[in-house]
């Protein structure tokens, strides 16, 4: 059965967005990422205008991350205090990033910077996570061991002011740490036009030393607020949110997020990390192919990346 999408001005078979939502929702519940870096390109491939794809995706992530946050909160895997601090940093970073894009666009090389940032960030994060989780799995030691190890960097971080205890995560950090790193992810996310879950997750795991399961729940909580803001701004200023498409996507993604959260608890932190690392690396390779292979069409719609 086909449905017509009133904002995207296109017709789509009902099973396609529902199935897509289910798959991306599953990843969301498993890894604490919004899945925008997967969903938006897939929607564009299906003929949805890129601007509508990005805006509508934020709308459905609101549903998926609500569902995922709720599932993780029930089992005590959301660190609200950490989430708020990251959120404040991310919000300020987002504002800075948007200004950065304006400057880059005026200079005329925005697309180059965006694409390169994307490839480098995905590549570095993917490789680091992959190698690190592989090493940890070899040692066959759990998350506790990771926490126990104190690197030079973490010793240095102990000297920062405003140290505070994050009870749920079982860590003590300077409040500045989540604010600054949240801001850093916010800047990059705004430049790349994505939610930034795939950057925030490694920051929480490797910099903030939070246990993987709390990372997933806290990341989803943070993504939820980001996407509420983005959805509203997109609907209000750009009129790009397709409600019907969002409903079809969220039918799948809300269920997928729940299944992902249940399934994720059966996997070890290291296993989760290595699967996410592989997905990130596959996306990186896909983008590199897109950049180097001759496109069939040299013209595309204005908007999106």
């Amino acid at each position: 059965m086909y449905l017509y999408l009133p904002v995207a001005l296109t017709s789509i078979h009902i099973f396609i967005p529902v199935g897509l939502g289910l798959a991306v929702g599953l990843l969301s519940g498993l890894f604490g990422v919004g899945g925008g870096f997967l969903m938006t390109p897939l929607l564009i491939m299906l003929g949805i205008p890129s601007t509508v794809a990005a805006a509508t995706d934020s709308n459905q992530i609101v549903a998926a991350s609500t569902s995922g946050t709720y599932a993780h909160w029930k089992v005590g895997n959301v660190d609200f205090k950490m989430g708020f601090h990251l959120l404040i940093g991310g919000f300020v970073g987002g504002l800075l990033g948007v200004q950065g894009i304006k400057i880059l666009s005026a200079m005329g090389n925005a697309d180059f910077v965006i694409k390169m940032t994307y490839v480098l960030m995905l590549g570095i994060v993917g490789m680091y996570m992959f190698i690190e989780s592989l090493n940890s799995m070899k040692k066959k030691k759990g998350e506790e061991n990771v926490q126990g190890k104190e690197s030079g960097l973490s010793k240095l971080l102990k000297f920062l002011p405003v140290q505070t205890r994050y009870e749920k995560s079982g860590v003590t950090h300077s409040m500045l740490l989540p604010l600054v790193f949240g801001g850093f992810v916010g800047i990059l996310a705004a430049i790349m036009g994505v939610g930034g879950g795939f950057l925030m997750v490694p920051v929480m795991v490797y910099v903030l030393r939070m246990p993987m399961h709390v990372v997933v729940g806290t990341s989803l909580f943070q993504i939820l607020f980001n996407c509420i803001e983005v959805t509203f701004l997109q609907a209000y200023t750009n009129h790009n949110v397709d409600f019907i498409l969002a409903v079809l996507l969220l039918l799948g993604s809300t269920i997928g997020a729940q299944v992902g959260a249940v399934f994720g608890r059966k996997l070890k932190g290291e296993q989760l990390k290595i699967i996410l690392a592989v997905i990130v690396l596959v996306v990186t390779v896909k983008i590199i192919f897109e950049l180097t292979l001759s496109p069939s069409l040299l013209l595309s719609q204005v908007g999106g990346h």
């Binding site: 017509y4 599932a71 959805t231 397709d242 409600f243």
Partner: protein
């Protein structure tokens, strides 16, 4: 095309209106042909875009003088389009390198003829009535305006882009002709793409003889959003804040709702 034909059957179900417009006798271009007669009717000339819309079909039929060739053009009014241009950066990476503005181009353009256009019509005539892709190409304006070679390259990229979006189509020899009572009865069934936005579209039928247009007649096709599609589309455009809030609340509700269902189902623990 095959997909479009499939969609025809579906879309018919949802279309109640079947209005017929008959436009009689256009104007006679060549003075000598006093008995010339050309009629055209477009069935399904009021396409309603509802919730289950997946494109439609439009058939054009009518009567023409014997011995004439026919060209049927379906087009939206001319407008301008802005598109992103891809190009190679550093000789290696494909990226968006700028924007291309095209003027005097229709968003939808569908051209059908009894024979190949270049076999039945002079280029001058093609350009005068904007018949065929080469004529559309010559008529189009591009900005940034560059040399002619580069301009025609980008316009041909534009035609490729439009064909890929199903908005530009061309065919030769697909118009059915039957001789009856000393007249030619013609008929063509065309797939109407769901990608065509709401608006007015003009069907023009040209009778061609001796490589010249001797007569033309017109009919209209109106595409209009109705019901829930119209409501959402209007709200998104005119009341963005409320639309955004409804979208967010619905998403939050759906997320919590599914969370509750899973909790009740006991699957989460």
């Amino acid at each position: 095309m095959r997909q479009a034909q499939k969609s025809e059957a579906r879309s018919r179900k949802f279309t109640i209106f079947f209005v017929t417009i008959t436009a009689l006798l256009g104007f006679i271009v060549s003075g000598g042909n006093t008995s010339a007669e050309l009629t055209a009717k477009a069935n399904h000339d009021h396409i309603k875009v509802d919730f289950f819309y997946h494109g439609s079909t439009v058939s054009v039929s009518g009567i023409a003088d014997p011995g004439t060739d026919l060209i049927i053009k379906i087009a939206s009014p001319e407008g301008h389009e802005t598109l992103r241009q891809k190009g190679k950066v550093g000789g290696l990476l494909w990226m968006n390198v700028g924007t291309l503005k095209l003027g005097q181009v229709p968003n939808l353009y569908s051209i059908h003829s009894t024979k190949k256009l270049e076999d039945i019509l002079d280029q001058k005539e093609m350009d005068k009535y904007i018949i065929g892709y080469p004529a559309v190409s010559r008529h189009a304006e591009t900005d940034p305006a560059s040399n002619e070679g580069e301009q025609s390259q980008w316009v041909s990229e534009f035609l490729k882009y439009k064909e890929a979006s199903n908005l530009y189509t061309a065919s030769a020899g697909k118009i059915e002709i039957k001789e009856k009572g000393g007249k030619q009865h013609y008929y063509i069934l065309t797939a109407w793409p769901y990608q065509a936005p709401p608006g007015d579209y003009l069907v023009t039928v040209y009778a061609v003889k001796d490589r010249k247009v001797i007569e033309k007649t017109e009919a209209k096709v109106l595409v209009e959003q109705v019901g829930i599609v119209k409501t959402f589309s209007g709200m998104a455009k005119n009341n963005g804040a409320l639309y955004g809030i409804i979208s967010i609340i619905s998403a939050l509700g759906a997320g919590f709702g599914v969370g509750m269902i899973f909790r009740k189902g006991g699957g989460a623990h």
